[in-house]
């Protein structure tokens, strides 16, 4: 077990635990506004202080984690559910019309800056967590499709795949039985990285007001609302900012650590 993996797993687990805990317990009522207590620095009553409405920041962070994780997780799920089969199909029919269509389709989506298009999509469909998921999810599809296709192509020329073809197995069955298990490591690693990017994208969309709508707490909007008060109470902006940084850092470390642990080639080198 590498230190990278342990650090990443701990950070990620902390965020997940906070999000889960918020379903049963939060330090305060997230919607309770006590204007008298507004912009308090961290203290015994409010461990991370209060915002401009006097809401408990720790509570908002915990519930905000729920939104971030849900949006990013479902978006990654969309990417895997649609991208992986597309990539497998393209690799199974290498250089065919299907492969060309899928690959050029990937290129087309990649050609647009993802966040700008996500903003466009949410602006057209209307703001909200669901549309944010959709917008981020669409950009995850080509990421997984391209990764899957590249890794699968390398496997298709291997002799054990030829052996399976000699055994009369069809391309779909070979993809499911032989290709997918052998690229699962890659997908898991890419999944954690896309997850962290999803959290960033969700924060970005909420920041411009196109993500989860009030009163649902969200890290991006906490940042946006705190912006005007940075000079008065910097902790209101710094705390959600740090939450985003540590979550993304944790997921990236987890991805790196998983890659090192799961990749048998790297394992041999470390023998």
């Amino acid at each position: 077990m590498s230190r990278t993996l342990i650090t990443g797993a701990l950070l990620t687990a902390l965020v997940l635990a906070a999000a889960l805990l918020s379903y049963v317990w939060t330090p305060a009522d997230p919607e309770a506004m006590t204007i008298a207590d507004r912009l308090q620095p961290p203290n015994a009553a409010h461990w991370l202080g209060t915002d401009h409405f006097g809401r408990d920041i720790l509570t908002l962070l915990m519930i905000g984690a729920r939104t971030s994780i849900a949006v990013a997780l479902v978006a990654v799920g969309i990417g895997i559910a649609l991208g992986v089969p597309l990539g497998l199909a393209a690799a199974a029919r290498h250089s065919s019309l299907l492969d060309e269509v899928i690959s050029r389709g990937n290129d087309l989506v990649f050609a647009f800056p993802s966040l700008v298009i996500a903003i466009l999509i949410t602006a057209i469909l209307g703001p909200g967590a669901l549309n944010a998921i959709l917008a981020i999810g669409i950009f995850n599809i080509p990421v997984f499709a391209r990764l899957t296709r590249g890794a699968a192509l390398g496997l298709w020329s291997r002799e054990f795949i030829l052996a399976a073809r000699v055994a009369g197995k069809g391309r779909a069955r070979i993809s499911a039985e032989h290709i997918l298990p052998n690229i699962a490591n890659l997908l898991i690693v890419q999944g954690t990285i896309q997850f962290s990017l999803g959290i960033l994208a969700e924060a970005g969309l909420s920041y411009v007001g196109l993500g989860a709508q009030p009163p649902t707490p969200s890290w991006g909007r906490m940042l946006a609302e705190a912006q005007t008060m940075v000079a008065l109470a910097p902790h209101v902006a710094i705390i959600p900012g740090l939450a985003i940084v540590f979550t993304v850092l944790g997921l990236n470390l987890l991805g790196d650590g998983l890659r090192d642990t799961l990749d048998p080639r790297l394992k041999v080198q470390r023998l």
């Binding site: 030829l162 399976a164 000699v166 009369g168 052998n182 023998l271």
Partner: protein, 560 residues
């Protein structure tokens, strides 16, 4: 081997110098002197204290099977051992210091200048995005202060010296524009650019075709003879070094078991291991007598296969490459047919076409009276099975042996389940000399030879009438190869199996086939009984192949 009294254990590169350094007076008869060289990797010993000398202008061949430590010895001399390796003992060049005690910076100045190394895989040993001129002149410029222009002139001289004259192979060529043999020549030019006193060649011809191999071996011999370099040649192939090396050292499990002048070694073979290796190298499988030909099982008629290459310019027609230009062959029931040819001749394309993995552009292939195509019926497919070359790549690493072997059962309309399936797997494993208990293990628990047995078990489980062996023993050590050839011969006896044995190795083909086809550039150029074709070839290409194949001397026939 006895270890010399000069030997001294020093921990790693930063260790002490041998205490007797001063006694070791400059000895003009020894260039490289290894004394009690020990190498451990992660505290696991791989070389157990070997000693040897190489005289100036001498060729020492270090031979042995994979894992014997021969490559580690070469890497130790170059100071290129893996990070977790630790070498002790002494290695000196001329009257220099112990290489094992030198810091990396010192070693860098010695590499290339005092010792050059030629690697096995010419494609990966060259940088694909640099011209050959740059790569050769770089070696010169790293070690000497000559200006770029002069380094280039010397690079051109070196490339000419290794048979790449600048008028035909300008310095601006890239590695991908050269053939495998030409790339290996560039690798040699880099190694000799500064005229090092010691040249180390690690399996320099293993990745090359026989005709190219013969040319590269000639080049190495002439370099030693004309430039006075010493050569440490690492190879698994006794035949390659038999008429080239001055002395041969046989390694087994990290020890040199026998070392002698080449002729003497082949004459005396003091150590049983040397004898085993030698006998395995020219092993002849005990094939049951050839049966009279009856019905043809497999017929290839006028097979043509063309591949579309990438467009050279946009909007033009894609150029095509014809891998098969009208191939005919017939395999009869119980017949043992061989197919020889060099890389790129179309052997693999033919294999895939026969297995119905790729469509043909012309001609037909019929098996058991049925047309072979990518969508042929399962029953036809079940009669045609294959064993591939690479014992490591032919299995899904995530499945257990049971599932790997049972995979072809999928072709049966009513595949056996549960108990019956386990019995079929157990029977196939037993047929190839493994235990039924092996079914529950993962593939990485098996050695190369055992994996090749598992590959044969997978091919056998459907009791096919025809098996294609695609270079099936090429990746194996000689002793394992002999065992697998015996196993294949047994299959002919027990199952009346017919096979098409594809190989570049004439010795193997001679041992395991009755009839042989010679393939060149997508065509069959000669065919006939194996012994006749290999002993008295008529086609010019076959003659060239036979002449280039390295041959072991016959015991007792070596002049003293």
């Amino acid at each position: 081997m006895t270890s010399s009294d000069t030997a001294h254990s020093s921990r790693g590169r930063g260790g002490q110098r041998p205490p007797h350094g001063s006694e070791r007076a400059s000895d003009p008869t020894t260039l490289l002197r290894a004394r009690d060289l020990k190498v451990t990797i992660a505290d696991h010993p791989v070389i157990h204290g070997i000693s040897f000398d190489i005289a100036p202008g001498e060729i020492l061949a270090l031979t042995g099977e994979s894992g014997s430590g021969k490559s580690m010895t070469a890497l130790a001399v170059m100071g290129l051992l893996p990070d977790r390796a630790n070498a002790t003992g002494s290695l000196t060049i001329g009257d220099g210091e112990n290489l094992l005690a030198l810091p990396e910076k010192k070693l860098c100045t010695l590499r290339g200048r005092e010792m050059g190394m030629i690697f096995q895989e010419p494609m990966t040993a060259l940088n694909p995005v640099q011209t050959i001129g740059r790569q050769v002149s770089e070696t010169i410029r790293i070690h000497t202060a000559v200006p770029a222009r002069e380094a280039e002139i010397r690079a051109a001289e070196m490339l000419a010296r290794v048979g790449l004259p600048p008028d035909r192979f300008p310095l601006s060529r890239y590695p991908h524009e050269l053939s495998g043999g030409q790339r290996q020549r560039v690798g040699i030019a880099m190694a000799i650019a500064l005229r090092p006193r010691l040249l180390i060649a690690d399996e320099p011809t293993t990745a090359l075709d026989v005709t190219t191999q013969a040319q590269i071996l000639d080049l190495l011999k002439s370099l030693v003879a004309e430039e006075g370099m010493s050569l440490l040649m690492i190879t698994h192939d006794l035949a390659v070094v038999s008429d080239m090396a001055d002395r041969i050292a046989v390694m087994n499990k990290g020890e040199i078991v026998e070392e002698a002048p080449a002729a003497q070694l082949f004459r005396e073979m003091r150590h049983p291991y040397t004898r085993t290796l030698f006998e395995a190298s020219q092993h002849r499988a005990d094939l049951p007598p050839e049966q009279p030909r009856t019905e043809p099982l497999l017929k290839v008629e006028g097979a043509r296969r063309a591949y579309a290459l990438p467009r050279t310019r946009p909007f033009t027609a894609r150029p095509t490459f014809e891998a098969l230009k009208g191939v005919d062959l017939t395999l009869h029931r119980g017949e043992r047919l061989g197919l020889v040819g060099e890389s790129g001749c179309g052997k693999s394309t033919l294999t895939r076409a026969i297995l119905g993995l790729e469509p043909l552009q012309g001609g037909t292939i019929t098996a058991f009276g049925q047309q072979v195509s990518p969508d042929m019926p399962a029953a036809t497919r079940a009669g045609l099975q294959v064993v591939f070359q690479d014992p490591y790549g032919s299995f899904n690493p995530r499945h257990r042996v049971r599932r790997l072997i049972a995979e072809p059962l999928h072709l049966l309309s009513d595949p056996p389940q549960g108990r019956a399936r386990d019995e079929a797997v157990a029977e196939a494993l037993t047929a190839v000399g493994l235990s039924p208990d092996d079914a529950d293990r993962h593939i990485h628990a098996f050695s190369g030879g055992q994996r090749q047995r598992i590959a044969i078990a997978r091919a056998l489980i459907l009791r096919p009438e025809v098996i294609l062996f695609d270079e099936a023993v090429s990746a194996l050590d000689v002793r394992v190869r002999a065992q697998i050839l015996d196993l294949i011969a047994d299959l002919s006896r027990d199952y009346g199996l017919a096979w098409l044995f594809i190989s570049h190795d004439l010795t193997v083909v001679r041992s395991i086939t009755d009839r042989v086809l010679v393939m060149q550039e997508g065509r069959i150029v000669e065919e006939g009984p194996t012994a006749q074709i290999l002993d008295a070839p008529t086609h010019a290409y076959t003659r060239k192949l036979v002449a280039a194949a390295p041959r072991l001397p016959e015991i007792g026939k070596i002049s003293t």
